[in-house]
Amino acid sequence: MNGYLSIRNLTVRLKGGGTILRDVSLNVAAGQVHGLMGESGAGKSMIGKAVLGTLPRALDITSGQIWLDGVDLQTLPPAERRNRIGALAALIPQDPLTALNPSRRIGPQITRRLVDILGWKRQDAAKRALELLNEVHIPDAPRVMRSYPHELSGGMRQRILIASAFAAEPKLIIADEPTTALDVTVQKQILHLISEMQARHDTALLFVTHDLGVMSKVCDTLSVLYAGKVVEEANMPRFFMRPIHPYSAALLAATPTYTDPTSSLTPVPQTVVDQVEREVMEHDLRTAS
């Protein structure tokens, strides 16, 4: 199974320290939504960063390949790699409040990639930006284009970031907990918007979240990550009916269902945690020897 984005045996280490990602493999098929599920600290955001080439400097990719549109990104020289990612992939970031440059107007922030990296004409890029702002249901788009980020609400800014992500018609979008920083009321609208945009533009989407409820609404397939290791990869219906790994089962049990709000929350049992820890340790021992 070869996806549009295909990560194979990716291992990421802290320089001179511990392992962040252990032998991670996953596939995102063209036009499909793949969820990346895990607790905080499991390393799920690092996968997105590794793909986009924005890993913190203290981290190194020690082995593995990242195939994007049939090319292994790891084999490309840095500039070419950057350009390829810039043209084919885009990020919807977690916190809309810090993801827009405060000293620059909204318009240029959407159009700059088109003009600078893809060589569009300025007017074409501006026209495209207006279209996109309409697509993400922003009223009075021309005025918003001239605004500075601090003049807009958090939900508004996340819409702009979504518009900006789709600007260059990327074939892959990585959404890194795109609703976590938002108010609950806005979360739902943004989630809808992402699904809507993904379907209309037929992009592959890697959706990173810790919220199984959110994931069930948007994803086709998913990977469950624990301590930097993929413990299960499945499509959504199968995962909800028959989770294979005990950690997945425990996760499902720990998630409140909307159909039965009276069911009590079950924490992940200690035995399951112990088993996953053991698996991770065995993996480490195997790779160390």
Binding site: K15, G16, G17, A58
Partner: protein, 283 residues
């Protein structure tokens, strides 16, 4: 990461050792100047004017670093000059620190009208070019060691007051200060027992920096002939003389300048080194 910290620690240690070492040598030289100095620093010999240092042609034996235009031994004058420099550094530095830190603590901790008055004075002081202010004060008070020390205290107390005020304000807003007050301590004793110990590292760092600055101020005043009496050896006075004859006898300028440079650098590096020592993250 761990390696980096090791590196940082090693360079810090080296910095402290080097600057501390130079200042110790200087202190010893100042104390033992009469024993170490090969010549009388005031002795003039017009036949031996502008003799070059020992490695150059035409050097006069016994005058290691050459002589100035009046035939006085440069090395001996540097050694004796260290006395004045260090006295000014220690006395003026400490007094400036005491006055400035006290006012800063009061302004930052008591706030209200004491703060308004002190801050107003700081603002006014900031509007003076410090060198001009110092020269003006010396012109008024007359030259001499005491005048220099008083002038340094008057122009530089704001350096302490500004920083310590800000620190005291931050500390004063902390919960532990509030709890000390609730437990019945007077404001004054809270200031001494709770605030002062926490701003002490900053005070010590500023103090070493101030010592370097005091040496420079004395040199500047000597340079414009407003330090102590003209014939007693000072580094600034030597630099002033060396500046006028720099094309004929560069060594009269170079050696006191190197000494002054290293001394000022050592004081500030000592301060920086101490600051990092006090930094709990690196310690």
């Amino acid at each position: 990461m761990r390696d980096l910290r090791g590196d940082v620690k090693r360079t810090l240690g080296l910095r402290l050792w080097l600057s501390g070492g130079w200042l110790t040598i200087l202190a010893l030289a100042a104390l033992c100047a009469p024993l170490l100095a090969p010549k009388d620093p005031l002795m003039q010999d017009l036949f031996l004017g502008r003799m070059p240092p020992f490695w150059m042609d035409g050097a006069e034996p016994g005058y290691l670093l050459g002589t100035d235009s009046l035939g006085r031994d440069v090395l001996s004058r540097i050694l004796y000059g260290a006395r004045l420099a260090l006295i000014v550094a220690l006395v003026a530095g400490t007094l400036t620190c005491f006055v400035g830190a006290t006012l800063g603590l009061i302004a930052g901790y008591y706030r209200g009208w004491p703060d308004r008055i002190i801050s107003r004075f700081v603002d006014i002081w900031m509007a003076f070019p410090p060198v001009l202010f110092a020269i003006l004060l010396i012109a008024v008070m007359g030259t001499g060691l005491l005048s220099i020390i008083i002038a340094i205290v008057i122009i530089d107390w704001t350096r302490f007051a500004r920083v310590i005020r800000a620190e005291a304000m931050t500390q004063g807003a902390m919960d532990y200060v509030a709890s000390a007050q609730v437990s019945g301590q007077t404001r004054f004793s809270t200031m001494l027992t709770e605030i002062l110990p926490n701003v002490l590292p900053t005070i010590v760092v500023l103090l070493t920096l101030e010592m370097g600055i005091a040496v420079i101020v004395e040199a500047i005043l000597s340079f414009v002939n407003l330090s102590i009496s003209t014939d007693s050896p000072t580094w600034g006075g030597m630099i002033s003389e060396g500046r006028t004859s720099v094309h004929q006898a560069w060594w009269v300028l170079v050696f006191p300048l190197i000494t002054l440079f290293l001394t000022v650098l050592s004081f500030s590096q000592l301060g920086e080194g101490l600051k990092d020592r006090f930094d709990p993250v690196l310690r």
